[in-house]
């Protein structure tokens, strides 16, 4: 007869990875008491260890496909794919933070714990089989990030960032709950599969259903920073500590797309004909505003904020295309986006040193002379973000536009490629300033082993995926095939 412990271990098996991440976070909080201020970096390495352990746990559960805990938690290839992306985002986030926090003098243990909690929230979002789990995951993620955004508590911009994010985030959560309650009122269930079952037999012309869908689009649109729900992004990205911005631009956005995919290409699939119209519209608006506003920015963090809006727009093109191909293209895209964007933020962090912000685009002047490696990395990331082969960004965009053409949305693909041509201007401006302007004053960059590791990982990934995307592509396609 199995002991109680074995019984317990078996019952929590599907959430092994989540348990590991949460446990790591709690241990970080405890260890924090025993560590002197100057040795907090060990907490960072410990958190990284936790993330790697969670990744191993997820790897061992790969191939499983089922609903657990009364259908509220799904362990399927789809969520597994996203969990790996979250591990990458969180792992890179930790690596980018270790030295940066020291410079900003905010090296405290809670930082890593919050990062891990946010990651747990994102994992729950990807695995949610129920609107309630989904909401819980989302709030766990959002609350952690509100605090992280305001982590430089003596800095006005950081405070402003946190407050703005909190207020608007709370507002969007309200809208989401309203939409969810409408769905519940119609279908009598919060279970995603249950709602799908209801919709298959329901009258789809019901205006209430339509209203619920719109509310979900709006609230998720807020999370992924789609225009016109993007107003918070530039200020929040600019004010938050750069390492948090890097994480924020990747993790929560990817999580938002995980939920969008789950809800719109699975649960609300019967409504695809309606939702695709709205999402196409959002996609065009998002690409237009993101790319055009980025043209005139002088602060690199604000520029990357608008660029991240624009990239949400490209991913929305894939969502509008829908179907397994559309969904797989979004998955591939957000994964590549997370890597290249965090890499770009890594270089921005290098420019930050005590007494100098290093956030103005002009601060990049002459970097190609003073620090060839940093400039070269930035060059790779900028070309990748523009979508120039042989960098990974091209493969991502190619798949998105390919699935759009396949779904008959040729006009959307044309809009997408034209706006990415616009984006070339502001990404290339960085390269131009680095290589074609003379350096201003001396240039001592902040480097540390952790930062170097993060940059090495992201640049390698960007080039390898760009040249040989087959493995990642097959992984994404197989993952989506599991749920559709």
């Amino acid at each position: 007869m199995p002991s109680m412990f074995q019984e317990f271990a078996r019952s929590i098996m599907p959430i092994n990875a989540e348990v590991i991440v949460v446990t790591t976070a709690l241990l970080v909080l405890i260890f924090d008491f025993f560590l002197a201020k100057e040795s907090k970096q060990y907490l960072g390495w410990f958190s990284l260890f936790g993330i790697i352990s969670a990744a191993i746990a997820t790897y061992k559960l790969m191939g499983a496909n089922g609903a657990f805990f009364g259908g509220t938690f799904l362990l399927d290839p789809f969520s597994t794919f996203f969990k790996f992306v979250f591990y990458i985002a969180c792992g890179l986030g930790i690596l980018l933070s270790i030295n940066y926090l020291k410079i900003e003098d905010i090296h405290r243990g809670e930082y890593y714990a919050l990062l891990l909690f946010a990651t747990t929230g994102m994992m729950l979002m990807a695995s949610a089989g129920d609107l309630i789990t989904l909401y819980l995951g989302l709030e766990l993620m959002a609350l952690s990030i509100y605090i992280l955004a305001g982590f430089m508590r003596r800095d006005n911009r950081s405070n402003e960032s946190a407050i703005k994010y909190l207020l608007l985030g709370a507002f969007s959560s309200g809208i989401m709950l309203y939409g969810m309650s409408l769905l519940y009122g119609l279908s009598g269930t919060t279970n995603l599969a249950g709602i799908l079952g209801f919709l298959r037999g329901a009258d789809l012309a019901n205006p209430v259903l339509f209203l619920a869908m719109i509310m979900l689009v709006v609230s998720f649109g807020f999370k992924v920073a789609a225009v016109p729900f993007h107003m918070w992004v530039p200020d929040v990205y600019e004010g938050a500590p750069t390492s948090v911005t890097a994480f924020m631009s990747a993790g929560p956005k990817v999580a938002g797309f995980a939920v969008l995919l789950r809800v719109f290409t699975y649960t609300l699939e019967p409504l695809h004909a309606h939702s695709t119209v709205i999402i196409s519209g959002l996609a065009v608006l998002t690409m237009a505003v993101g790319n055009i506003m980025a043209l005139s920015q002088t602060n690199i963090k604000r520029m990357l904020a608008y660029s991240s809006i624009a990239h949400a727009g490209y991913a929305l093109v894939g969502l509008a295309a829908g179907g397994p191909e559309g969904a797989a293209s979004v998955m591939l895209y957000v994964c590549i986006y997370a890597l290249m964007n965090m890499g770009a933020f890594g270089v921005v962090i290098m420019l930050r040193k005590a007494g100098e912000r290093g956030e103005e685009i002009g601060d990049f002047a002459g970097l190609g002379k003073t620090n060839r490696t940093a400039a070269f990395l930035m060059l790779i990331f900028m070309f990748s973000l523009t979508g120039i082969p042989p960098m990974a960004g091209f493969v991502g965009k190619f798949y998105i536009f390919k699935s759009a053409v396949q779904a008959g949305l040729v006009w959307l693909a044309v809009a997408g490629v034209l706006f990415s041509a616009v984006s070339a201007y502001f990404y290339l401006r960085i390269i131009m300033i680095m290589y074609m302007n003379e350096p201003k004053g001396s240039f001592e960059l902040t480097t540390s082993p952790s930062l170097a590791l993060a940059l090495a990982i992201s640049v390698t990934a960007v080039i390898v995926i760009g040249v040989y995307p087959t493995n990642l592509l097959n992984f994404a396609r197989a993952s989506i095939a599991g749920i559709m």
Binding site: I388, P390, Q406, A413, I431, M432
Partner: protein, 512 residues
């Protein structure tokens, strides 16, 4: 139809030609010393030329097939393969690329003093990407090289260019990018329309619907026309040429802009023959405008390089005129003229580079009477000028004559107007030569001008040799391409037989 002849040699020649420069570039990353970097880059570029020899010798010009083929699955989920091969058309451009790259590296020997290593890395990457463009037989692979080439070229102009380089670099990049991305959407559409394949040879045999052809042709045209560059999207070219370093100008004029015309030959014509026929009148008119307008603008230039840039617009007008005459003479003339233009304009930019390195001015007015001081240079410039004009005995004559022949057979009016372009060309080039070389020395700085040194002569010599080889024995080039071109024409005509009524009408009206 066309087939891919796999594994003709014991080793993957074309892959080697693409990846050897990449290897060289990586090697350079570990070199700190500028002199060593120069020698390594030169060595790799010369090996590329050496690799051309087995390619040219083993090429069977009696069959139209793609040769030295390589094929390997790459992204299986999208049915993308790594497929390479050359036919009688692309083989010539591959050879030209290797030659001009080496020459460019030689002329940059002393001209580039700043960040030599990075410069050479960019040159080698550029060579790899350009060769990739000419030998790709998979549309996806082709697009990768087509776009990747922008990166080193952008850096060459932007980092090592003249005072207004930032503007020129970004203009070059954006113009070409906008055209290319439209082609990308069309490539994807072609992929789905033809049953999910990027295989160029399969696509050549696929018959697309007329409406589809018209739209897709326009999208491909956007990419290729910007690259050629055709009027009215040519405005990036003068800026890019003027600001680019000599090596950049040589590559840009010699090879890069040929890629647009090559795109017409390799993709637009065989994929969309009906659309090509329907669009022909418009393209012929644009070509004629480019010929006259380019020549007219060249007259007005005071800057040496800008004059040559506008002459390029004019000469490329001849090329597109020949291609879209859609007969054997026109096409062969067009292709030959592309090679000729690569040789002569490459040499002209080399000439400008040589003199600019000594005087640091490109204004024509700053020269005059230098023939007495630098006789070797003046002779070189004269030969190239005459070749550019198309004097019989030089390569330019053969190319222009054949194009005009083709255009005349297509529709007389175009040929008549285009021949005016030749007269204008003689006018501005001779006037340029007169102002630079003859007369009295007006600028005291030119009193002690040093003549071309051994390295410069060595760089110029192959080009001068080509001027006469092609001029006196054009079959060297024609023989290589003839089978492939006839096959292309047959293919286009056979595929376009069932052209809709509207096309027939247009053809009747334009007298074809």
């Amino acid at each position: 139809m066309l087939e891919l002849k796999l594994h003709q040699l014991d080793f993957p020649l074309l892959s080697l030609m693409i990846f050897l420069p990449v290897l060289g570039a990586f090697l350079l990353l570990f070199i700190r010393n500028a002199a060593t970097a120069r020698w390594i880059a030169l060595a790799f570029s010369i090996i590329e030329i050496v690799l051309c020899i087995p390619m040219l010798l083993n090429f069977d010009s009696s069959i139209p097939h793609m040769q030295f083929g390589e094929s390997a699955p790459w992204i299986a989920a999208w049915n993308i393969n790594y497929r390479l091969g050359v036919d009688g058309i692309s083989i010539l451009f591959v050879a030209l690329t290797t030659l001009l790259t080496t020459i460019s590296i030689m002329v940059s020997w002393t001209a580039i003093q700043d960040r030599v290593r990075e410069f050479m890395v960019a040159m080698l990457f550029l060579e790899a990407a350009i060769i990739g463009v000419f030998v790709s037989l998979d549309l996806f692979l082709f697009y990768i090289f087509w776009e990747a080439m922008l990166i080193p070229m952008y850096l060459l102009i932007g980092v090592w260019g003249g005072p207004n380089r930032l503007y020129a670099a970004i203009k070059f990049f954006l113009y070409t990018l906008v055209g290319s991305v439209l082609m990308l959407v069309a490539i994807i559409a072609v992929y789905f329309a033809a049953g999910r394949t990027f295989d160029v040879l399969e696509l050549m045999n696929y018959k697309f619907s007329y409406t589809f052809q018209m739209v897709a042709f326009a999208a491909f045209f956007a990419a290729f026309a910007v690259k050629v560059p055709m009027f009215p999207v040519h405005t990036w070219l003068p800026d890019a040429h003027v600001e680019a370093p000599t090596a950049g100008s040589i590559i840009l004029a010699g090879i890069l802009i040929k890629m647009g015309a090559y795109g017409f030959l390799r993709f637009s014509l065989p994929f969309f023959p009906d659309a090509a026929l329907s669009w022909t009148p418009a393209i012929m008119i644009l070509s004629v405008i480019a010929i006259i307008y380019g020549a007219y603008m060249a007259f007005a230039q005071t800057d040496f390089k800008k004059l040559i840039a506008y002459s390029s617009v004019s000469h490329m007008g001849f090329v597109t005129l020949g291609i879209f005459a859609l007969n054997l003479q026109g096409l062969e003339g067009g292709i030959l003229q592309m090679l000729n233009h690569g040789v002569s304009t490459g040499a002209l930019f080399l000439a400008v580079g040589v003199i600019y390195e000594r005087t640091h001015t490109r204004l024509i007015a700053d020269y005059g009477g230098i023939a007495a001081r630098v006789p070797v240079y003046a002779t070189f410039l004269l030969i190239i000028t005459l070749s550019s004009i198309g004097l019989p005995g030089t390569n330019g004559f053969i190319g222009e004559f054949t194009i005009l022949l083709g255009a005349f057979m297509h529709a007389k009016s175009y040929a008549v107007i285009a021949s005016l372009g030749i007269i204008l060309g003689a006018g501005y080039m001779l006037w340029l030569y007169q102002r630079v070389a003859f007369g009295k020395i007006t600028n005291p700085h030119n009193e002690h001008l040093a003549d071309m040194n051994l390295r410069e002569v060595a760089a110029a010599l192959p080009l001068v040799a080509l001027v006469f080889i092609v001029g006196l024995y054009p079959n060297a080039a024609f023989g290589m391409m003839h089978t492939s071109v006839s096959n292309l024409i047959q293919h286009v005509n056979a595929k376009a037989q069932s052209a809709p009524v509207i096309t027939q009408m247009i053809r009747t009206v334009t007298g074809n």
